[in-house]
């Protein structure tokens, strides 16, 4: 990369269902907290990039009434309409171009405004899938889960173990709202059935949430903080539409991870990355994510979870913060993962802290069955 860019501050809201405050209030509080965390004033920010979705917010131009709250008054502002990692990528590009030095990134979705599964239904191909009306994102995930599990003989228990791990990890994270420290595999497999084999505890909850972080170029980062978290690599790709690709693997995630590793100079992610924060919108997705990230061979994601290697105490902890299964503020989910990864590197992760984190991976996705994926590699000062 032609410049070095670091995360110098961040903040998250408490992720809850149906927070009784307006978007403006929530966004303002979080952006203010992020600026305070970085120790800078709004005047020092050059640009603001936000992520939100018109359909999910229920307002066309979802950022139009939020420009003041997000601190973009008379500042260079833009908005991406996908996961927060897209906004982070765009903010990164603005700094790399040399035209800006400090950028605020913000992402939010108040998913209690309207059933988000209904909105994902509207993202289906309007000419066939939407007319037939049988498909929605949970049904599509169920089809994917069934294909994956049959192809590689993955038992239901392995999928349930992902929920058990993440929801237990969430108990150590005060910001999430679905925490279940004593959850068992049986309870997951007995929870309400949505579409076979997807059950309620394998689906993320409906969450309202906002998160924000501050990016800075190397010179500014050194002025602002003595613990910058560097962005060492990034990769993003989009797959074909739902019916036109192999659902048993996340091809775009594999490519994105490979690109990010290449940029960061990582040859063996299993050994060189200390913690992974991934966006698993359904429990079975995490097993497929292990494979796409190169941590396990195709079809062998199950052995990682069965051997406890991705637990907090394991060799490659995945989602010590609880992941998306514990709180899923849709457009903010990916950015939350980035912030949690940054906290791990800084040693700021509180109860979720994994010891000796030098490098972390953060992943965000958007679209039915993770159609587009973005991967960031973060690292502390070596």
């Amino acid at each position: 990369m032609q410049r070095r860019v670091a995360i110098v501050g961040y903040a998250q809201s408490e992720y809850q269902f149906n927070v009784p405050r307006t978007r403006e209030d929530q966004v303002f509080d979080v952006v203010k907290a992020a600026l305070r965390h970085a120790g800078i004033l709004r005047e020092e920010v050059d640009s603001v990039v936000t992520a939100s979705s018109d359909f999910l917010d229920g307002r066309t131009i979802s950022n139009v009434f939020l420009s003041m709250a997000v601190g973009a008054y008379q500042k260079d502002e833009s908005k991406v309409e996908e996961d927060g990692t897209g906004a982070l990528l765009y903010g990164l590009m603005r700094i790399l171009a040399g035209t800006h030095d400090v950028v605020t990134i913000e992402a939010h979705t108040l998913a209690s405004t309207i059933n988000p599964h209904q909105i994902l239904f509207y993202s289906l191909d309007p000419l066939f899938d939407r007319q037939v009306g049988l498909m929605n994102d949970i049904a599509a995930a169920a089809i994917q889960a069934r294909m994956y599990m049959k192809k590689y003989s993955v038992p239901e228990e392995a999928v349930a173990m992902v929920s058990v791990k993440n929801l237990a990890n969430a108990a150590l994270n005060p910001l999430t709202h679905r925490k279940m420290p004593d959850l068992t595999v049986e309870e997951v497999l007995n929870s309400k059935l949505y579409y076979e084999p997807i059950r309620e505890l394998m689906i993320p909850p409906i969450t309202d949430g906002v998160c924000a972080l501050i990016l800075a170029s190397e010179e500014k980062a050194r002025e602002i903080t003595d613990r910058p978290v560097w962005i060492e690599g990034v990769g993003t790709y989009q797959d074909s539409y739902l019916r036109d690709r192999d659902l048993t693997r996340f091809e775009s995630l594999g490519k994105a991870a490979a690109k990010a590793y290449e940029m960061a100079g990582i040859k063996d992610p299993y050994r060189e990355i200390n913690v992974f924060e991934v966006s698993e919108k359904f429990a079975h997705e995490e097993l497929m994510i292990y494979e796409a990230l190169g941590l396990a061979r195709e079809g062998h994601g199950q052995s990682l979870i069965e051997k406890g290697l991705t637990n907090r105490e394991g060799e490659i902890p995945v989602n010590p913060s609880g992941g998306a299964l514990s709180a899923d503020p849709i457009c903010a989910t990916g950015l939350t993962r980035v912030i949690e990864a940054a906290r791990q590197i800084r040693g700021d992760a509180g109860g979720c802290q994994i010891p000796y984190v030098e490098r972390a991976l953060a992943h965000g996705q958007f679209g039915i069955c993770a159609q587009k994926n973005t991967v960031f590699i973060l690292g502390g000062d070596q």
């Binding site: 008379q74 260079d76 833009s78 171009a97 989009q238 490519k255 587009k372």
Partner: protein
């Protein structure tokens, strides 16, 4: 800027009220195909795509997930940017930053709108939704129907633009006859642009004056149409631009400063502190930043053509002043003298502008595209008959609080 970027190819679709021969995906792929052909670039060589539209109009959430397959997106990075009326401008700038960042070498930026997919007349679904949440909120506090219907039904046809025009008229001495002149010019220019929507080769200000009054000072003849259309540009880094294109349009400066919500309400029915929606501080700041990056000190002398986002004719006048092309309050005088005609001293919107063609998602990108065509000398019948060293493209959107300004030129910006 650490790395230069240039437009090496442009593609548009024919814009019309109803493109009944294509659906959204086919419409966009037409524009992308045209752009790739113009640039002599194959889909394989494209490193990334930046896309956007206002999804409320088409009724499909994140349509790029579906139409991506039509434009070669699978297996490539795709960024979706959507900022309301400036969507096209933000998409174009997103494409520029993508190349300038060094992460990608060739990027396709495309924006589109298919208004006719929406069942309501005038395609209000998408726009009404901006204020709908505030309306619902206000109803709970006893908003009277009379007040709502009075301020909205009459004002909403033109929205805040009618008030903005009145402020400009009061400040500058401009009269509504001047809006007739601007609207007529837009339609005459559009007749020389094979992709434009409202083509009226011999339109005169009297023709516009005869149309019915919507709300003083606007007539039906002043207002832009709702078009179906898409536009796309191919952006390349310096090495590739020099190899592939004889006359690329270099990106010299770009900015998109936001202002406070200009005279609609803030969230939940609050007021706003902007007293004059024609002041447009965001436009002034964006222009200052873009010119500074481009090394332009005197836009009146150094800018040769401007593509201004003007769904309403008053906006061509007031924004051309904010962009520094005329002195405050004097744009209408210059227009009266013919300076903004295609063969004038400061041609404004030789393509007809948004006043003649408005596919909302794509319009602001179209301004960048048309400015690019002028610099590259490819604007065919509406090419301005003078040397184009620098061109400025502008977009506004949101509740008139979002602005994008891009400066394109025949040589890259001077390195500082």
């Amino acid at each position: 800027m650490l790395r230069n970027a240039a437009i090496i190819g442009c593609g548009q679709t024919k814009h019309s009220g109803r493109r009944r021969d294509v659906n959204q995906a086919e419409l966009v792929s037409e524009a992308v195909h045209n752009a790739l052909e113009d640039a002599q670039v194959s889909l394989k060589e494209v490193n990334a795509l930046v896309v956007g539209n206002m999804q409320g109009f088409g009724g499909v959430a994140n349509p790029d997930l579906w139409i991506g397959d039509w434009i070669g997106a699978p297996g490539k990075p795709v960024l979706r940017i959507a900022t309301g009326g400036t969507t096209g401008g933000s998409v174009g700038q997103g494409g520029f930053y993508s190349v300038m960042s060094g992460l990608y070498d060739i990027v396709v930026a495309t924006a589109w709108e298919k208004h006719s997919d929406s069942k309501e007349a005038g395609a209000t679904t998408g726009l009404l939704h901006v204020a709908l949440a505030n309306f619902f909120h206000a109803f709970g506090y006893g908003l009277s129907m009379k007040n709502l219907l009075a301020t909205s039904a009459v004002g909403a046809a033109a929205g805040v633009a009618a008030y903005q025009a009145r402020f400009y008229m009061h400040r500058s001495g401009c009269r509504s006859e001047h809006f007739d002149m601007v609207a007529a010019k837009a339609r005459r220019n559009a007749a020389r642009n094979k992709y434009a929507h409202l083509q009226w080769p011999n339109c005169t200000p009297e023709d516009i004056h005869k149309t019915e009054l919507i709300v003083d000072p606007f007539r039906y003849g002043h207002v832009c149409p709702a078009s179906d259309g898409a536009s796309a540009i191919v952006i390349a880094c310096e090495d590739i631009a020099l190899k592939k294109c004889k006359r690329p349009a270099w990106v010299k400066g770009l900015a998109s400063y936001s202002d406070e919500e200009t005279q609609m309400q803030s969230e939940s029915g609050g007021g706003v502190g902007v007293l004059d929606p024609s002041e447009q501080m965001g436009a002034r700041l964006s222009a200052m930043k873009a010119y500074q990056q481009a090394g332009i000190k005197d836009p009146k002398q150094e800018i040769d053509v401007a593509e201004i986002y003007q769904p309403f004719p008053s906006q061509e006048l007031l924004f051309s002043e904010k962009l520094g092309l005329f002195d405050e309050g004097k744009a209408w005088i210059a227009m009266e003298k013919g300076e903004t005609e295609i063969n004038g001293r400061m041609p404004c919107d030789p393509s007809g502008g948004v006043n003649a063609t408005n596919a909302i998602g794509s319009s602001a990108l179209q301004r960048i595209l048309e400015a690019g065509l002028q610099v590259m000398g490819k604007a065919e019948d509406h090419q301005v008959p003078k040397k184009v060293r620098n061109a400025v493209a502008h977009g506004w959107g949101g509740v008139t609080n979002y602005i994008t300004v891009t400066v394109l030129g025949e040589t890259p910006a001077p390195r500082r």
